[in-house]
């Protein structure tokens, strides 16, 4: 089980990703879905950093930084949307906000 290799980190990333997907599916609360997305982004970041170390090339870390920036953007905009959703529907349960379908 040791030394710790790239595979370990990739496995951790895969676990995070899978949990993010589960959260996105299982949660009905829009904030919960947002949390799931954050988990997915973190999974991507773990992979990026691990590979950056593996190839001994810092480009991956730069991309990880940009992913963090974009995650911040996404969180801000998503929360704004959620608040609007709350104003419009009186709830943040996404199942009720499927008006576009009709």
């Amino acid at each position: 089980m040791y030394p710790i290799t790239l595979t370990h980190y990739l496995a951790a990333g895969a676990f995070l990703f899978a949990m993010g997907v589960v959260a996105c599916i299982a949660r009905r609360n829009a904030v919960g879905i947002l949390i799931g997305i954050e988990l997915i982004l973190n999974a991507a970041n773990v992979n990026l950093v691990a590979f950056a170390r593996y190839w001994n090339n810092l480009d991956g870390e730069v991309f990880a930084i940009i992913v963090i920036i974009l995650a911040a953007c996404e969180a801000a905009v998503a929360l704004a949307i959620i608040i609007n959703l709350f104003r419009g529907f009186g709830t943040v349960e996404v199942d009720y906000a499927s008006k576009l379908k009709e």
């Binding site: 995070l16 949990m19 299982a26 904030v31 949390i35 973190n42 870390e61 920036i69 911040a72 609007n84």
Partner: protein, 168 residues
Amino acid sequence: MSPEIVQAVIFYFLAAMLVVSCAIVVFSHSIVNACFALLFTLLAVAGFYALLGADFLAVTQVVVYVGGILVLLLFGILLTSPLPIVLGVATRRTYYLAVAAGAAVFAMLMIIVRAFWAGQPAVPEQQSTLEALGMLLLGKYLFPFEFASLTLLAALIGAAYLVRRNDR
């Protein structure tokens, strides 16, 4: 103890923290609990970064995610949820479906990982990445970096525009 053993111990500790906190994040019935569990998930990820020698990223992870996004999420919860702040998961059927899908995804990813990168050693890094990262960000990746900052600004303005009250 050799450094590898120390590394392994830390890794498995972090991994355990990750698994437990992740489970709470995903399956907790209270969204506030989920949020607090997310704190530990993010800290575990930051620990991974530190373990990987990405010191700057580890700090950034803590500052941005824990200090920024998590607080933002909590605010979102407080602003949108009428009491009680208990919003569980979906119906039992969806619940199983979700777990199945997660398992499928995890299985797929593990298949791919084991097929390509099984047992490759991670290269430990000794010196700080800070200077090299700075050179990259303001050199080779100046444009993406500036563009990301512009995006951040746009998101800021957009978010402020979206939540402004339309009463008047």
